[in-house]
C-alpha cells in the first residue's frame, strides 16, 4: 500500500480524528512556549491545609463541649459502637463451631447442601488460615455496616422507586458516592467520629449504601404497572399495595441489593483499618508495613473466602430454587446444623485448635524471596523501563505545563468526547483542585491513572476480543474473571508488592490487574453484541478476520468500549490511590500521611476531596458513552 493511499484514507476520517489532533498540536505548541511557567508547585504548608488542620484542632478541643457533638454526633458514635460490640460479642460468643454451624444452616436455607457446605468449609478455613479472631471482628464490622446500610438504604430505595422526584434528587449524590474512591471517606470520619470501630463502620456504611438504595429503587420501579393497577383498582391503599404487591414482587431483586451492599462493605472494611477499626485489615496493614507477604496472605485469602461465601449465599437466596423438592426438611435441617454447631462449642476448645492451623508464613515468604531473587532482573527491568520511558516523562510534562494549559486541554477534550455540560463540570473540578493547593500531586496521580488506563485498555481489548472470537477461550476465562471480580481491591496489592517492591509502578501494576476484568468483560460483550447479519455480510464480502475486527466489530462496539474505558478509569483511580500503601505516592500518600501525622491532617483531608474531584473529572471526560445507572458494575455482571 502506498503512502498516498494511507494519506487519503486517514484524510477521509477527518471528523473523528481532527479534533483531538488539533488539541494535541495546540497543547504541544503551548507547552513548548510556556513550559515551566504558571505551574503550581506543591507546598506541604499551603494555607488551605493549615486552615483545615486548625479546624480539626478546633473540633478536637470542642467535641466534649459543643452541643452538636454532645447531643448528636457522639451519640451516633456510641450507637454504632454499641451495635458493633453487640454483634462482636454475639459472634465470638457462638464460638467457632457455633459460627460454622450457623453459616452452614444459613447456606442450606439459601441454596441447599452445596451452599451450606461452602459456608461451613469457608468459615472453617478462617481458622485453618490462622485468622479466626480477626475474621470474626471483620464479620462483625461488615455486619454492622450492612445492617445500617439496609436500615437506611432499603426504605430510601423503596421511596425513591415510587417517587421519580426523589430519585432525580438522589441520583447525582449516589453517582458521586460511587465514583468516590474508598480512601476519600476516611478523613471526615476521623474528624467527627475519632478512630476505632464506629468510625470504620460508618465509613463502610457510606461506601456500601448506594447499591442498597439504587437496586431497591430499580426493583420497585420494575414491578409491573399492571399488578399495581390491579391492586389499586381493588381498593388497596398505597401502603397495602407497597406491602402486598411491590415488596413481594421486588424481593428477588432486592436480595441482589443486599448482596451488592455486602460486597461493597467487604471491600471497604479492610481500608477502614487505617483508622484503627479491628479485623483482617489489621493483618494486611501489618504485612504491608513489614513488606511481609506471609502475614498478609492468610488475611487476604480469608477476605476472598468471606466474599465468595457471602456472595454465593445471598445470590442463592435471590434465586431460591434449591428447596423445591426438600421443602419439608428446610427448617429442621437448618436448625439441626446450628444446634449441632453450638453444642460442639461446649465440647471443643474455645479457641480454634492450633494444630489445625496451616502455617503459611514461612513457605510463602520463602516463595516470595525465591521470586525476588530469580525474577529480580526481569521485574526491575519492567519497572525501570516503564518508569523511565513512560511515567516520568508524562509526569514531567503534566507537572511542568502551565495549569491553564492543562485546564484548557481538559475542557476541549471533555467537550469533544462528552459535550459542553460535562466539559464545564470537568473544568470546574480541575480548578477546584488548583484552589485546594494540590495541583502538582493531582497531576502525578493523573499520570499514573493515564498510564494504568492505557495498559488496562490494551489488555481489555486483546483479551476481550480473544474471548469474543473463541467460545472455548471465553469459557476458560469466565470463571477467572468471576473470581477476580469477587475479590476486594486490597488483595491486589499483595502480588504487586511481592513482585515489584514499593514504587509508583507497583501501584500501577495493582490497579491494572484490578481494573482489567470488568473491562475485558465489557469489551467481550460489546463485540458479541454486534449483530450477526452485519458480521455475515462483511465475511461474505471477503473480509479477513483482521479486517472484520478493525472495520466492523470494533467500530460497532464503540459504545461498549467507551463504557469500558469509563469503568476502567473509575476503578483505576480508586486503586492507584490505594497504591499509596505500596509506594504509589501523590494524592493517596497525602491521605495516608494525613492519618499518620497530625500536622498533615489538613493536607490529607484536602487530598481526599481532590481525589473525588479528579474522579468526577475523569468520569465526565469519558462519559460520552451512554452511562449506565451505576459505575460500579464489578459484581453485578
Amino acid at each position: 500500500m502506498s503512502a498516498t493511499a494511507v494519506g487519503t484514507r486517514s484524510g477521509l476520517r477527518v471528523p473523528g480524528w481532527a479534533a483531538p489532533a488539533g488539541i494535541a498540536v495546540l497543547f504541544v505548541a503551548g507547552y513548548l512556549v510556556f513550559r515551566g511557567a504558571g505551574t503550581l508547585p506543591h507546598d506541604d504548608d499551603a494555607p488551605q491545609f493549615l486552615a483545615i488542620t486548625d479546624l480539626r484542632e478546633w473540633v478536637d478541643d470542642n467535641k466534649n463541649a459543643s452541643p452538636v457533638f454532645l447531643y448528636f454526633i457522639n451519640y451516633i458514635r456510641l450507637f454504632v459502637g454499641a451495635i458493633f460490640v453487640a454483634l462482636q460479642s454475639a459472634l465470638h460468643g457462638l464460638g467457632w463451631p457455633g459460627l460454622i454451624g450457623l453459616m452452614a444452616g444459613l447456606g442450606w436455607l439459601a441454596g441447599g447442601w452445596r451452599i451450606g457446605l461452602l459456608g461451613a468449609a469457608g468459615f472453617a478455613s478462617f481458622g485453618v488460615l490462622g485468622v479466626w479472631e480477626s475474621s470474626v471482628d471483620t464479620l462483625a464490622l461488615v455486619g454492622t455496616a450492612v445492617l445500617l446500610s439496609l436500615v437506611i438504604g432499603l426504605p430510601l430505595g423503596v421511596w425513591a422507586g415510587r417517587s421519580p422526584r426523589l430519585r432525580r434528587a438522589l441520583n447525582p449524590v449516589l453517582d458521586i458516592m460511587q465514583i468516590m474512591p474508598t480512601f476519600a471517606y476516611l478523613a471526615p470520619m476521623v474528624l467527627f467520629f475519632q478512630i476505632g470501630a464506629p468510625a470504620g463502620a460508618i465509613a463502610t456504611m457510606i461506601y456500601a449504601i448506594p447499591p442498597a438504595i439504587r437496586i431497591t429503587a430499580l426493583a420497585i420501579e420494575q414491578v409491573s404497572p399492571v399488578a399495581v393497577e390491579a391492586s389499586a383498582s381493588l381498593g388497596a391503599t398505597s401502603w397495602q399495595t407497597l406491602r402486598k404487591v411491590h415488596l413481594p414482587l421486588a424481593r428477588s431483586t432486592m436480595t441482589l441489593a443486599v448482596n451488592q451492599t455486602i460486597m461493597m462493605a467487604l471491600s471497604m472494611v479492610v481500608i477502614a483499618n487505617l483508622i484503627s477499626a479491628p479485623g483482617l485489615g489489621s493483618d494486611i496493614i501489618r504485612g504491608l508495613s513489614r513488606q511481609n507477604v506471609g502475614i498478609m496472605l492468610p488475611a487476604g485469602l480469608a477476605i476472598v473466602v468471606m466474599a465468595v461465601v457471602l456472595d454465593r449465599t445471598t445470590m442463592a437466596a435471590a434465586h431460591r430454587r434449591a428447596h423445591e423438592r426438600t421443602a419439608r426438611w428446610r427448617w429442621p435441617v437448618a436448625a439441626g446444623l446450628v444446634a449441632g454447631g453450638v453444642a460442639l462449642t461446649y465440647a471443643l476448645p474455645p479457641a480454634f485448635p492450633g494444630q489445625w492451623v496451616l502455617p503459611m508464613g514461612g513457605p510463602v515468604n520463602d516463595a516470595v524471596r525465591w521470586a525476588e531473587v530469580n525474577w529480580y532482573d526481569a521485574t526491575e527491568a519492567i519497572k525501570n523501563v516503564t518508569s523511565e520511558a513512560l511515567l516520568n516523562p508524562l509526569q514531567g510534562l503534566l507537572t511542568s505545563a502551565p495549569w491553564w494549559l492543562v485546564a484548557a486541554a481538559v475542557l476541549l477534550l471533555a467537550w469533544w468526547s462528552s459535550g459542553i455540560r460535562p466539559a464545564l463540570t470537568a473544568l470546574g473540578c480541575l480548578l477546584a483542585i488548583a484552589l485546594l493547593g494540590l495541583w502538582e500531586h493531582s497531576m502525578v496521580t493523573l499520570t499514573m491513572v493515564v498510564v494504568a488506563v492505557l495498559a488496562v485498555l490494551v489488555i481489555g481489548l486483546v483479551l476481550g476480543v480473544a474471548a469474543a472470537r473463541s467460545a472455548r477461550y471465553s469459557a476458560v476465562q469466565r470463571p477467572l474473571l468471576d473470581a477476580a471480580q469477587t475479590m476486594p481491591s486490597f488483595v491486589y496489592l499483595l502480588p504487586a508488592l511481592a513482585l515489584f517492591g514499593p514504587t509508583k509502578f507497583t501501584a500501577i501494576f495493582a490497579s491494572v490487574i484490578y481494573a482489567a476484568p470488568p473491562v475485558i468483560r465489557l469489551v467481550e460483550q460489546g463485540i458479541r453484541a454486534v449483530p450477526h447479519p452485519v458480521v455475515e455480510a462483511a465475511l461474505s464480502a471477503g473480509s479477513t478476520p483482521g479486517q472484520l475486527l478493525r472495520k466492523v466489530q470494533l467500530p460497532m462496539a464503540r459504545q461498549a468500549i467507551l463504557l469500558a474505558a469509563n469503568q476502567g478509569i473509575v476503578l483505576t483511580l480508586a486503586m492507584v490511590v490505594l497504591g499509596a500503601l505500596v509506594g504509589g505516592g501523590a494524592l493517596g500518600y497525602d491521605v495516608v500521611s494525613g492519618f499518620s501525622q497530625r500536622t498533615d491532617f489538613g493536607m490529607g483531608f484536602a487530598a481526599g476531596v481532590a481525589i473525588v474531584l479528579l474522579g468526577i473529572m475523569l468520569d465526565r471526560i469519558t462519559q460520552g458513552a451512554d452511562r449506565r445507572s451505576s459505575p460500579h458494575q464489578r459484581n453485578s455482571v
Binding site: K63, L78, S276, D283, R290
Partner: protein
Amino acid sequence: MKIRLLAGLLVLGLAAGCGGAKVEDTPGSAAPQASSGASAGGTVKIAINPWVGYEASANVVAYLLKNELGYTVELPEIKEQLAWEGFETGDVDVIIENWGHPDLKQKFIDEKKVAQVAGSTGNKGVIGWYIPKWMADKHPGITDYKNLNKYAHLFKTSESGDKGQLLFGDPSYVSNEDALIKNLKLDLKVVTGGSEAALIKGAQQAQEQQKPLLFYFWDPHWLFSKTELVRVNLPPYTEGCDADPKKVACDYAEMDLDKIVSTKFAQTGGKAYELVKNFSWTNEDQNAVADDMTNNGMTGEQAAKKWVEANTATWQAWIPK
C-alpha cells in the same frame, strides 16, 4: 425500624447520663456485657507501632502480662500519632515505646489529661541519616552534610527525578526531613519506602552490592550489628533547635524513650499498670528480641518467650509484688 433506632438512641442517652455523650464514653459503658476495662485479669490493649524494636518490647510485656499475671492482651496495629487518640477513645491502653512527641504530650497529657507518662523504657533512641560504609570509604567528606550536594547525583533514582533520593520509612514516623532539606538547602528529595522493611532491604542491598543510598534510620536497631552503616553528620543538636518543626536545621536529639499509658489504665490497670511502669531494659535486650523476630523466623511471642526464659532476673524485678 426508625422508631427502634430512636429508642436505641434514647436508651443510650439515658445510660450515658443527661450531660450528653463525651468522646471518652465507650459503647462498653452502655452495654455492660461487653469487653470489660483493664481491671483485674481484664484486657490490656498495647498499640503496635510499625517498627520491629517497638514490637519486641510490646511482645515481651504482652508475654509477661499473659503468662505471669493472667491478663488478656490485644495488640492492635495503630500508628504512632493515631495511637495517642486511642487513649481518648479507649482503643489503646499503652504505648510501649514513645519517641518524644512533645506536642502530643502537651495535648493529651497536659490539656486533655487522658494520658500520662509511665517512666522510661531504658532504651536510648536516636534518629539520623545513614549511608552504607563503602560510600564513606570511597567518597571522603560525604558524611558532612555540607558536602551532600556535591554527591547528590549519586543518590538519584527513578523515583526521585533530578534530585538525590533520601529514602524514608513508614509515613507515620517522626520526621524533620522536609524541613531539613529545605533549611539546609540540599538537593535531595524524600522518597517514602513505606516501611521499615523497605529501609532494611535498601540498606542491605546498598552495602552488599555497593549501590549508593542515603536513608533515614534509627538506633536501637539490630541492623547495625549485621550491616556496616555510617551516620551523616547534620548540624549538631542543641537544646531547642527543633522547637519549631518548620525551622529545624539540626540533627535529631538522642531521646530517652518512654512509655505512655491512658489515665484510665493508670487508675484501674492494677498489676498490669505496675508491670508496664516497671518495664525497663537495654538496647541490647531489645535488639536481641527484634533480631529473632526478623531474622530467625520467630513470631513475636516465640521471641519474647526465648528472651524471658534467658533473662529471668531482669523481668522478675518488673513483676509487681
